[in-house]
């Protein structure tokens, strides 16, 4: 544990231009410390703020200067106090100077650890770097930064920087930002660490590594091209799923006030004989059996050891092949990275030459890997080049595991070309799809890719750790909703949809309209499938035109002032067949609005009025299901939104579903109708 102990200083810009993103920073930094509390509880963390109103650091009292830098928490072993401090960062009033903060942080680390703890001293700078750093007394800013960076390397410190750009920063002087970028890049180069630019809150979440896992080699040795050519490599895991924490079983048997109770549950396994179910078979009388057809073949471990497949350890090249011979979906498992042996320049060169040649020729290599001695299976993998565009990172390879013949199930699927013409999209529809794909672009040219996996955090884990923290304070806390920022991972971006409303609309239209006439023709033919394309096309061209016309000219809404009257007017209009549905839908929207906007129930009476008139309308128009489903939905909605009081209010006012006796189409019985709200009420309690 202690060997991997790390000291981390968070350097956070809290200046005015950062205020809008501080909530995100609070979340991600506290998550980082929370994870440390679980996985690296001996790690030490300190917090340095800059851009603050106050000044509080040792350097300022010792040598002066270093204004607006506050050491919020001195370096100490992680605890709940740090989490809480990070959850409510003060908002600063000054534009921060990140270099001051860096120097203060260095000073703290040197004072605390001196020469010890080499390589385990880390700083993490989060800023938008919009404001210039102070001119130095001697030399240029570049020289000053280089000196500091060199000092860092000497003391074995590393600093990663996360720079907020794009949507996350305000308009600022481009010249200053460029200068700062240049300066920060010096740090990145000298201390060989990451310098990341993020332009949306999700990336900010993902950019800060909340858990540090020291990579362990899977294999170190040669890639054998032939017995005469071997290249020394190290193999690491490149991806590996961070699993949901495995939780222990909890025992409630010990008295609740017993402080020393472990609350653990032990699980005992007992194997019993089939002839005598009460007899326990001891472990040494058990033998493994493998099924082979209806037979079960017993094999003891020793026998198995003697006959099993025993490949020799090593990584061997089978050959190179066109990259399109291996398809992307053939990749089977998590990915390995092949790096040249450190310090071995020739190996680095050899890998670099191969990687670049393979990239150029569009080739991949097929390898056979046995990582460990005594491993009883082999892996066939595809090696793809990973060219590095940074000067301090060598070219390397990724290895993906490929399936064996036994792993592939060759199901046959009907060819699209064999389908009847009516199933195939027409030109219009293809164009709609084309537009949709082009507009819902997550990697727009010249902009940062959205939802880049490297920067996208796992929303479930985030939620779990947040809940853990909540529960540590209040054991009865409810599961928190998914963080709003992280919703962008699970749901389409509302802004993107809104911007491209027209395209999405036309996409929907081009596919929507095709369905109905088809169904009609099918129904006419007694439920048999019929694909008379002439019939279909005729209908398509005929319908959309007048539909659009109708809709766009005569839309009338239910107003805010007199919704009841508006509704009645709309539903009784007979100049178009669609008014009924339109009225019902509008009314539903209105009711939702009223309920959601309600402040301590002030809109409830109005909402009830609307519901009553909607109910009446639905009975008249023989649409009971519309109303019943809506009411059910509304009640669920209220319950989810903690608006139970509305349901109670409806129940008290005696509003019920539409039963069969009132509208013949209803599937609801009288009893059900009356008891609906009453029941749901009791369920909630």
């Amino acid at each position: 544990m202690a060997r991997n102990k790390e000291a981390l200083l968070l350097l956070l810009d809290v200046g005015p231009s950062m205020h809008s993103v501080l909530p995100e920073i609070e979340k991600v930094c506290s998550l980082l410390v929370q994870k440390k509390l679980i996985y690296n509880k001996y790690d030490e963390v300190g917090i340095v703020l800059f851009g603050t109103e106050d000044t509080d650091n040792e350097l300022t009292s010792e040598v002066g200067g270093y204004q607006h830098v506050v050491v919020l928490k001195d370096i100490k072993v992680v605890d709940g106090d740090i989490v809480e401090a990070l959850q409510q960062l003060p908002r600063g009033k000054n534009d921060g100077d990140f270099l001051d903060a860096v120097i203060v942080a260095m000073d703290m680390l040197i004072k605390k650890f001196g020469e010890t703890n080499k390589g385990k001293k880390r700083m993490c700078l989060i800023t938008n770097a919009q404001y210039p750093i102070k001119e130095s007394y001697k030399g240029t800013k570049e020289e000053q930064v280089t000196t500091i960076a060199k000092q860092m390397t000497v003391h074995g410190m590393r600093m990663e920087s996360i720079i907020l750009r794009g949507k996350l920063s305000q308009d600022a002087n481009k010249g200053i930002m460029d200068e700062n970028d240049r300066l920060l890049n010096i740090f990145s180069k000298e201390t060989s660490t990451r310098l990341l630019y993020v332009d949306n809150p999700i990336s900010l979440f993902g950019a800060l590594r909340t858990r540090n896992i020291t990579p362990v080699t899977v294999f170190r040795g040669d890639i054998e091209f032939s017995p005469k050519l071997k290249i020394k490599v190290m193999v690491y895991k490149k991806t590996s799923e961070e699993k949901f924490p495995s939780l222990k079983k909890y025992s409630d048997k010990a008295p609740p006030n017993d402080k020393h109770a472990t609350r653990d549950v032990k699980v005992d396994y007992e194997y019993k004989s089939s002839e005598d179910p009460d007899k326990v078979v001891p472990p040494d009388r058990r033998i493994k059996g493998y099924p082979y057809g209806p037979q079960i073949v017993p094999i003891s471990s020793a026998e198995w050891e003697a006959v099993k497949f025993k490949p020799e350890k090593g990584v061997k090249l089978l050959g190179f092949t066109e990259s399109n011979n291996v398809l992307r979906h053939h990749y089977m498992k998590d990915v390995y990275a092949f790096l040249p042996e450190p310090g071995n320049t020739k190996a680095m060169l050899a890998l670099s030459a191969l990687a670049r040649a393979m990239k150029e020729m569009n080739k991949v290599a097929i390898l056979r890997c046995v990582w460990r001695r005594g491993q009883s299976n082999v892996i066939i993998g595809v090696l793809t080049p990973n060219l590095s565009d940074r000067e301090n990172i060598p070219d390397s390879f990724y290895l993906n595991v490929l399936p064996f013949a036994e792993d592939v199930r060759e199901f046959q699927f009907p060819s699209f070309t064999n389908f009847p013409a009516s199933w195939l999209p027409n030109e219009l529809q293809l164009e709609a799809a084309d537009n949709l794909i082009k507009t819902l672009d997550l990697a727009p040219h010249g902009q940062q890719e959205v939802l880049l996996p490297d920067f996208t955090p796992n929303p479930v884990l985030e939620r779990f750790y947040r809940y853990l923290e909540l529960k540590s304070k209040d054991p009865d806390a409810a599961v928190p909703p998914l963080d709003d920022t992280l919703k962008k991972i699970t749901e389409p971006d509302g802004d993107l949809l809104l911007q491209n409303r027209a395209v999405i609309g036309s996409f929907c239209r081009s596919f929507e309209l095709k369905g109905n006439p088809l169904k009609k023709s099918r129904r006419l033919l007694g439920g048999k499938r019929s694909f008379s394309s002439v019939d279909v096309e005729g209908n398509i061209t005929a319908q959309p035109a007048n539909l659009i016309e109708n809709a766009s000219v005569k839309v009338e809404k239910i107003g805010d002032l007199t919704p009841v009257q508006d509704f009645e007017a709309l539903i009784s209009r007979r100049d178009g067949p669609d008014w009924v549905v339109k009225a019902i839908n509008e009314m539903k929207n209105k009711i939702f609005d009223l309920v959601e906007d309600s402040h301590e129930g002030d809109n409830y009476p109005k909402a009830l009025e609307c519901l009553v008139v909607l109910r009446k309308g639905c009975i008249l128009e023989q649409e009971p299901k519309q109303f019943n489903d809506f009411l059910r939905h509304l009640c669920n909605f209220c319950r989810e939104k903690k608006l139970n009081s509305f349901c109670d209010y409806l129940a008290s006012e005696g509003l019920a579903l539409i039963p069969k006796t009132e509208a013949i189409d209803s599937e609801v019985t009288d009893d059900e109708a009356r008891s609906f709200l009453v029941k749901s009420e009791s369920k909630v309690v």
Partner: protein, 696 residues
């Protein structure tokens, strides 16, 4: 090391999908009758051999080897399926109805239609040698007789498939023949009569839920004409959704390939709703096309009786004991996680709520160019998606029509259509599509459940085509409920090679990692080494030459069999048949050493070596391996010191006089280190180890 084959093959991942499909296998069984034409024509016609030094193979041989091959994979993968092997146009007869010209092959301890056994496979492998003696070939349909062997064969097969309900069991007849016109030798009314009877027989069988599939073999000069007779028999007409129909073959490999594909009945993992935009969603089925195959689950046996313990499913009993009080308890429903010196408890309900970050199955988020799908975005095998083709019933295609505050008038008109025209059943429901729960704008939607697949299919095809054309993949949120995650949907174009489908058309769902799952190994590397150099153009050129030399032409992923699995089953088969020696398996995964020793390859290798390593490759490598690391230096120094210290004691005497126990552990360890023995354990253990080593 105690080796558990299960652990080895499962590796560090256990795939819920794979287990799921395993369970499915047991619940949905398949009964197959292999119906093989044994007429002299099958023996007389040969296929051109693939390579010069091989003999031509008879059609009969091809059919037999295919079946044998399939049986072997069946016993491994789907041993609950039942098979029968039946020949027609035979001299001898053996079948339930005692029909002429039909012979059902079987072995001891087995019904005609039963699970494949090791003995069946073994004896079937040797059948060809004794075939003419024990079964014999004969023309079945000859003019002048009333015998109709094809009719008899289908009837016999149908009788074999009588057991089991068609609802729970898939029943199939696989017919191998090279005679496209079985009644060609006779003429007139007799012929039409026989044809009619046979077709009626086949239709009766099909009405009973038995599907008849044809695996035709081509004559070298004359293609098998399906429409001559068999198209009617197997009922090719009519249905639009016939699966891909392979063409007739005349090569063993093709036939094996086709049969293998036939043997996999498509089993979907689940069906899911893919929401494209709020308003349109399509119903898809997911299939596990690639999953690691593992040897069957182990069963614990009593080593004395060799009887399975308890019943096969619940082999061991678990009891839960409270660690604090020792009380027996029910399986606890609460879980705990230590945090900040507290035990935080979670109910199962809360845990599942945490994991439920989205409702619905799969939600489109947008599209990206294929180049954004990096090679390291992978965690587990992909899943294949194809539009649901099931008839209406449980699987509806849903189109969700939505109206927001901003009112898409057109959609409302669609609702009108739906309501007023009345094509739709009452299946109208309401839901709040996810994505709008958090939004201020009030939203609801009316879903119209329509019937059929046309629209779903149409949307899918449109997106599929355009994604291929534009080189894009779709990003969606979905994945399993246990691990919701981002997925990439990559459109795959259909690939057909020599008449069979290599890659089906559809989309592959690739599970993307989160930032938490990606490790920054390359960057970590950079701080441990000094300068980084990239290869020069000359070195790259030499590498390119080498790559050209060692080229695997036409490599395809499913070429290689898993040697560990092959070995496993070879061992099982040998033990099951009580054979003494286990046949040696060829490990197909080893590199082609002969090929690599070809002069051209060797030259290219040498040139590449020289350009990178210079002339002293061997020295370099020696040097590198010889160079001791920090740790090994220390270890070496330790060992030297221990050896020196060790010489100061007279171990023999100390041991004899029992004075070893008077020494300190440090002293004792000198001996251990000097003699390369493990130094772990308590003092007693150490002393015992020393005594054992000294042979006392």
């Amino acid at each position: 090391m105690d080796v558990d084959a299960d652990d080895i093959f499962r590796d560090d991942e256990d795939d819920p999908d794979a287990q799921h499909s395993l369970l499915e296998d047991e619940s949905s069984k398949e009964y197959v009758v292999y119906l093989v034409d044994a007429s002299p024509k099958m023996f007389n016609t040969t296929c051109p051999a693939a390579e010069q030094d091989q003999n031509d193979e008879t059609h009969f041989h091809i059919a037999i080897s295919c079946i044998s091959h399939t049986l072997k994979s069946q016993i491994i993968n789907r041993s609950y399926d039942q098979v029968a092997i039946c020949f027609f146009n035979t001299r001898e007869k053996k079948n339930l109805q005692d029909l002429n010209g039909v012979y059902v092959f079987n072995v001891a301890e087995r019904e005609f239609l039963d699970r494949p056994t090791a003995r069946l496979i073994k004896e079937f492998d040797h059948l060809e040698e004794s075939f003419s003696k024990s079964i014999g070939s004969q023309h079945g349909v000859v003019s002048g007789t009333q015998e109709n062997s094809l009719y008899n064969a289908i009837w016999a097969a149908q009788a074999l498939l009588r057991k089991g309900s068609a609802k729970t069991v898939d029943k199939r007849i696989l017919l191998f023949t090279n005679e496209d016109d079985p009644f060609g030798s006779i003429k007139g009314a007799v012929k039409s009569d026989m044809t009619r009877m046979t077709l009626q027989r086949a239709k009766d069988a099909q009405d009973l839920g038995i599907s008849i599939e044809l695996l035709p073999l081509n004559h070298p000069n004359e293609a098998f004409n399906v429409s001559q007779f068999y198209a009617d028999l197997i009922g090719l007409e009519g249905d639009y959704l016939v699966d891909f129909m392979p063409s007739a073959t005349n090569r063993l490999e093709d036939m094996k390939d086709q049969l293998r594909k036939r043997m996999f009945t498509k089993r979907k993992v689940k069906s899911l709703k893919f929401t494209i935009v709020n308003g349109i969603s399509i119903q898809l089925n997911s299939y596990a096309l690639i999953r690691p195959t593992v040897p069957g689950a182990i069963t614990w046996l009593d080593s004395i009786t060799n009887c399975p313990l308890k019943d096969l499913l619940v082999q061991c009993e678990r009891t839960f004991i409270c660690a604090d009080t020792g009380a027996l308890m029910e399986e606890p429903i609460t879980r705990l996680h230590p945090y900040k010196n507290q035990n935080i408890t979670f109910s199962m309900k809360q845990l599942s709520e945490i994991k439920r970050v989205s409702i619905g199955h799969l939600h489109l988020l947008g599209f990206k160019p294929l180049s954004c799908l990096r090679d390291y975005y992978n965690l587990k095998p992909s899943t294949f998606l194809y539009p649901s083709d099931e008839p209406c019933g449980q699987n509806h295609y849903c189109s969700t029509v939505s109206c927001y505050g901003c009112h898409w008038s057109l959609h409302q008109l669609n609702i009108k259509n739906a309501f007023l025209c009345g094509y739709l059943e009452e299946d109208i429901y309401m839901e709040q599509p996810f994505g709008f729960v958090a939004k201020r704008s009030i939203f609801f939607a009316v879903g119209i459940v329509s019937q059929g697949t046309d629209n779903s299919m149409c949307i899918f095809i449109a997106l599929h085509r355009k994604m291929i054309q534009l080189n894009r993949f779709a990003v969606a949120f979905g994945g399993s409920s246990s691990r919701p995650q981002l997925v990439a949907l990559v459109a795959q174009e259909e690939v057909i090679q020599s008449g069979s489908q290599i890659e089906p058309p559809g989309m592959h769902m690739i599970y993307l990692p989160y930032s938490d799952d990606i490790r920054l190994v390359e960057e970590r590397y950079s701080d441990s080494s000094g300068m980084v150099t990239k290869a020069s153009d000359d070195q790259i050129k030499k590498a390119a030459d080498l790559i050209k030399r060692i080229d695997l032409k036409g490599f395809s992923v499913c070429q290689l069999t898993n040697p560990a699995l092959q070995r496993h089953y070879a061992v099982l088969q040998a033990l099951a048949l009580a054979e003494d020696d286990i046949p040696e398996m060829k490990d197909e995964t080893l590199p082609d050493e002969e090929g690599l020793a070809r002069p051209g390859v060797v030259r290219a290798l040498e040139e590449f070596k020289t350009s990178v390593y210079g002339d002293n490759y061997d020295e370099e490598n020696e040097h590198n391996t010889g160079e001791p690391t920090e740790a090994s230096k220390k270890r070496k120094a330790n060992a030297e010191f221990a050896t020196k210290e060790c010489e100061n004691y007279d171990w023999g005497e100390l041991a004899d006089t029992g004075k070893l126990k008077d020494l300190t552990v440090v002293e004792l360890k000198y001996y251990l280190t000097a003699n390369n023995l493990p130094v772990s354990g308590k003092k007693e253990a150490i002393i015992t180890r020393i005594l054992t080593h000294m042979g006392k």
